[in-house]
Amino acid sequence: MIVKHKGIRLGRALGWFSIALGSAQVLLTERMNRLVGVDGMPTAKALMRGVGVQELTVGAAILNSPRPVGWLWSRVAGDVMHLAMLRAAMGSSGSDRSRVRAAAYAVLGVGVADLVAARALARASSRITEDGATRLRTAITVNRPPEEVYRSWRDFERLPQFMYHLESVQPTEQGRWHWVARAPAGKTVEWDAEIVEDRPGEVVAWRSLEGGDVDTCGLVRFAPATGDRGTEVVVEMEYTPPGGRAGAVAAKLFGESPEQQVRDDLRRFKQVMETGEVVRSDGSPEGSTTHRQLKQRPAQPVG
């Protein structure tokens, strides 16, 4: 589902480029200054060495990191800074204007490569796709037989009891279902969905229909857990909230991570299946919710 190689090769190449460039800037400072056309400037040596150290650091960080998205972005920032420095050099006497200009074009070229790599890597590892669809997958083990767990899940009308982001689920004609869910900023979203696959005790898959507020599809698998431990419930779903990618990013900024919500829903589902109720504490009197993880009440009776 998640493409990993995009951006990684380019990122690594840029990492090695940083090392090579940085080494030259530190060890062959005079030559580099002449090449760039700033050898006539008094501060050139110190600045070139400083930039060299910076390049070496970033290069090492990129090569040592499995996901150097941040470091690639810092390369972009560095390129902007170097362009500014070269611009300043243009205006100073003691610089070879044509060489400085050439150097600036080179930095610009590398900057484009940095930008492409950073974006590609960021996108590849993000769970938010191009069009704003959020993909998630999570699992929990429930100490009950798969048939029983399936039956409880399949009773969609009862889901809002422990899936707090849902307001209601009602059957409509033709074996379809109408879902109403809470959205960020106090709104609600609604959609109709149909069951695409239904194997009792094994799997339920659904897909939303055209015309709803949310585009969603997913499935839930029920499998016996090894070692006589009940049922493994695996949820895979994809959904596009209203507002596309911007909406998905905005929701994350408001702290409403759909992945965390689904995990909390599953946790509460497990509590209901195993203990009969959603477990309440003084810090979280409504039960475990995403919101409550950050904003706990003090551990005192509610009163």
Binding site: T141, N143, R229, G230, Q260, R263, D264, R267, K270, Q271, E274, T275, G276, E277, V279, R280, S281, D282, G283, S284, P285, G287, S288, T290, R292, Q293, Q296, R297, P298, A299, Q300, P301, V302, G303
Partner: protein
């Protein structure tokens, strides 16, 4: 009602707060008759545990009388006298079914927080921060007990005083489990670091479980004397001797067969610079534990022996002697006590007079004096070992 609330580092106050209510069908409300301050409460007092909020009610060692039960509770009646175990367990999840009650999969309502720090979440605990559920604790007049059909132990023998059974809630089973984890064989020598209440009970339990010799290590004279008198232990004062060398001499050069760490994250080191190192790193949050006792327990243990960790740790320790562990085939066994497992067997031993846990109590205070109690306990004033509060 009155309750002891955490108000900030080294600050607890008895405040007026709302009475607890039934929130889940399997709840019970208990009127507390006796409650104790635990060594691990001092970690909260000193703010070594993250996730505390101003106003949190502390206390996880308590007992009392049932005053209200939820609709799904049939095993308890109003008026029953109960001791409540400190981990909250549902009884139905895989962990509870395997008697790993402090790993209950359902009771921690703040599991995502615990998962971030520890990978997965253990059970919720009374009065022990919002890492472990944010449950109100029992250093108060009343407390709400979730899953009352699983946790509370009924005390039917009226001749047993509160003092005799209160410690079934935490410290006695914890000490016992610490000794049990050592897998003691006849002839074994067991060393215990820490002569606080848990260490005392661990030493006592090691004897009961068949250890031939028990050595207790601490620096407070009163506590060492207590260990000699009540656990029949030999003692070492780590400020006066080199513990590693002494333990070798005492065991023909081998080292103890099992070592119990009943100290935990606020360990003290006799060498000022090393203690300062750990304290400084802890202050700067570069490490979260002072694990000197654990390091020493590991280094002292004989080849192939067992290190049993029942002192509380929270985060990450520095300079952990993993090389010593790996190269010498040591077994490390640890965990928050699965109290529910031990309550009945230990109650029986108490009833038969095989164990009298009351010897550790040095202070009886009213609930109002709780801040005093914390201060006395923390600073070892007045030869304090265990403070029991009576609302």
């Amino acid at each position: 009602m009155k309750a002891t609330c955490w108000m900030g580092p080294r600050t607890v106050r008895v405040k007026d707060v709302p009475d607890p209510k039934i929130l889940n069908g399997r709840d019970a409300i208990v009127r507390i008759t006796s409650t104790a301050i635990c060594g691990s409460d001092l970690h909260l007092y000193g703010h070594y545990v993250p996730g505390l909020k101003v106003g949190d009610i502390l206390g996880h060692e308590f007992m009392g009388e049932v005053v209200e039960t939820g609709p799904e509770v049939s095993n308890l009646a109003v008026g029953d006298r109960v001791v409540v175990p400190f981990p909250i367990a549902c009884g139905a999840c895989n962990a509870c079914k395997r008697e790993l009650y402090s790993l209950c999969e359902n009771s921690n309502t703040t599991a995502p927080r615990a998962e971030k720090l520890w990978g997965h979440s253990p059970a919720g605990i009374f009065g022990y921060s919002h890492l472990l559920g944010g449950y109100a604790g029992g250093q108060a007049e009343y407390v709400r007990v979730p899953f009352a059909d699983v946790g509370p132990l009924k005390i039917e023998d009226d001749s047993l005083t509160d003092e005799q059974v209160l410690f079934l809630s935490d410290v006695l089973p914890t000490g016992y489990m610490g000794a049990e984890l050592c897998d003691i064989r006849p002839g074994d020598v067991v060393a215990v670091w820490g002569a606080g209440t848990v260490g005392q009970f661990a030493a006592l339990s090691a004897r009961l479980l068949g250890a031939e010799r028990v050595v207790v290590i601490d620096r407070v004279a009163r506590r060492l004397e207590m260990a000699r008198e009540h656990a029949g232990a030999e003692t070492l004062d780590y400020e006066q001797t080199d513990v590693l060398a002494e333990l070798k001499d005492m065991t023909g050069g081998r080292g103890p067969d099992a070592c119990i760490d009943a100290v935990g994250l606020e360990a003290h080191h006799p060498a000022a610079p090393l203690h300062a190192y750990d304290k400084a790193k802890q202050f700067a949050r570069l490490e979260t534990e002072r694990s000197h006792a654990l390091r020493e327990a590991i280094m002292s243990c004989r080849n192939g022996g067992t290190v049993s960790i029942i002192g509380v740790y929270g985060g990450f320790a520095d300079k952990f002697p993993i090389g010593s562990v790996m190269n010498r085939s040591l077994t490390i066994r640890t965990g928050q006590c699965h109290v529910h497992r031990y309550m009945r067997p230990l109650l029986e031993r108490i009833t038969k007079r095989e164990i009298d846990p009351t010897f550790v109590i040095t202070h009886h205070l009213s609930l109002d004096e709780a801040p005093n109690g914390y201060d006395t306990f923390k600073h070892d004033k007045d030869e304090c070992v265990k403070v029991v509060l009576h609302p």
